[in-house]
Amino acid sequence: MVAEKITIEPVTRIEGHAKVTIHMGDDGRVSRAFFHVNEFRGFEKFCEGRMVFEMPYITPRICGICPVSHHLAAAKAGDVVLGTPPPRPASLLRELMHMGQIVQSHGMHFFELAGPDLLLGFDADPAIRNVLGIVQANPDLAVKAVGLRKWGQTIIATLGGKRVHPNFAVPGGVNKALHPSERDLILQGLASSIETIQAGIAIIRGWAERNMEDIQKFAVFPTGYMGLITPENGLELYDGQIRLIDRNGDQLERFSAQNYLDVISEHVEDWSYLKFPYYKKMGWPQGVYRVGPLGRLNISDKVDTPLANEEFQRFKALNNGKPVENTLYYHYARMIECLFAAERVQVLLDDPDILSTDILNTRTEIKGEGVGVIEAPRGTLLHHYWTDEHGQIKKVNLIVSTGHNNWAMSQAVDSVAKTYVQGPKVTEGMLNRVEAAIRAYDPCLSCSTHAVGQMPMVVDVFDPQGNLVQTIHRGL
């Protein structure tokens, strides 16, 4: 067999635009596969010169799926830059919005993006392996899934005025208190949402039991894991220190987000606009790690809400307390987090401070630099701003959730391609599995391609017969 290249473009049922190229050898087996991110955004550059208090309104425009994460991370960075920590009620309200974001994002991903594969099968006809196929297979579940996402978005819209790109968090706090009627509105949807999430958990557990062979061979590889953590090593999505563990589950670092540059560095490849963060002390690529649902559950020892904690114990048992390495268990971890977020909404709404009007600290003492951190649905999100003495942005660095997982997604693509793609007949189901490897990480590619500058690049020019006639290098 003559070596060939298979291209999957665009990768479907993910946020953003990406391409996969699979290089086949003469023996009909995969020699190498690449995950290319072709988007180019530039936020880090064009935010220079803006005022720091504008950033919670500019940065959500990076993305329409996770704008709340950027909104809150930007406000938290502004808190530090301006030396204006928010009052406790404001932090509770910000976290409440964040839980709405987690529920709507995780729910949407599980039921609408990953759902077609899990409920209809990787090899199902593409004509039905979509949202309509889900609706036709189980209309009742589809309606509940829509309701789950609506509930999460109701929380966001109640607090921030809009489902997408809310107007709410500002450096020093938030701009709106919660009214008792609004609290009651949110509580109305809680019970049914928990029920829907638990139905989702039952689906993924059942699927895993029936497909254990795939679970065990589909992109299973060791990495480090990273995320926010409570002081007692509980699952944490809003604030706290960052914990990094190694492949065996042993702690490597526990640090404040303000010091992330001491711990994390970024590597660049010439075939993607997405950078590759790694743990500095171990170097590249030994220091790669994963974030997001699998990463967060791996670094945690417990979950502080009862239903989610019960499920979390089952998750931990999958590998006898050691880190769970199987890519497909991202879906299970995602739904456990969704359950935690829903239960956390109840906890927050029961807090006596949630209805307080003490929501903004107006005293400022400009520090000139600050980092805001949050666990976006996809993983740890860092906004780092440098400003002048007036709070005008001089420099921005964004390390976005999906960026942390870049190496892992590339590795997953390569691994799944080598496991499942075999010539001479390459089926659509095989290629869908390669896409599913990326999809499990729920990447947000619009978020992750944010930099501008002299990105190293290689351009190959082919003639009509496919012969390489020229290679152009830049920045290598």
């Binding site: 665009p10 479907t12 946020e15 309509l132 209309p139 589809a142 309606v143 829509v146 489902r163 997408v164």
Partner: protein, 158 residues
């Protein structure tokens, strides 16, 4: 008879937002008022007619169709259809797309049919866009199509 009129498109990309302008014209002809610029989403009920604006179609709206007898979809086209003002009765037919943010009106109707085993009568009003720059002002050629589009919708609604 209850009717839903959905206008969608990006009002910051000039003629891509023509649907919003048609919705405003429709509201005016029905004796109501919509602001010059929509928020991310905008809704208004005028008698039995429900006007709704959104940036793009999303699967969730299919669940709402069960409450209506007729649905009108208004959007812009780039000249890929013959008529500048194109009217079309829509079937409920799912049209898969590799892009998660691309959902057609017929696909929404197909989802509605799968959910509730019924679909409303549906009309697509697609208006030619000529310029798609970064502006909230319609091009002259596109702006001329707004009044006849609104009249066509009112005629169809009866």
């Amino acid at each position: 008879m209850r009717a839903l009129v959905i206008a969608y498109g990006n009002t910051d990309r000039q003629d891509d937002g023509v649907a919003w302008h048609i919705l405003r014209e429709l509201a005016q002809q029905l004796g109501a008022f919509l602001p010059l610029s929509p928020a991310e989403e905008c809704e208004k009920e005028i008698g039995n007619i429900h006007l709704r604006y959104m940036l793009q179609l999303i699967p969730e709206i299919a669940d709402d169709f069960q409450h209506y007898d007729r649905v009108v979809f208004i959007d812009a086209h780039t000249g890929n259809v013959k008529d500048d003002l194109h009217l079309e009765n829509l079937p409920a037919t799912y049209q898969p797309s590799p892009l998660t943010h691309h959902l057609t009106p017929s696909s929404c109707l197909a989802i509605a049919e799968a959910l509730h085993h019924t679909t409303p009568q549906a009309l697509l009003v697609s208006v030619r866009g000529f310029e798609f720059g970064i502006s909230s002002t319609l091009s002259e050629n596109c702006a001329r199509l707004v009044p006849p589009a609104a009249r066509a919708i009112l005629e169809w609604l009866g």
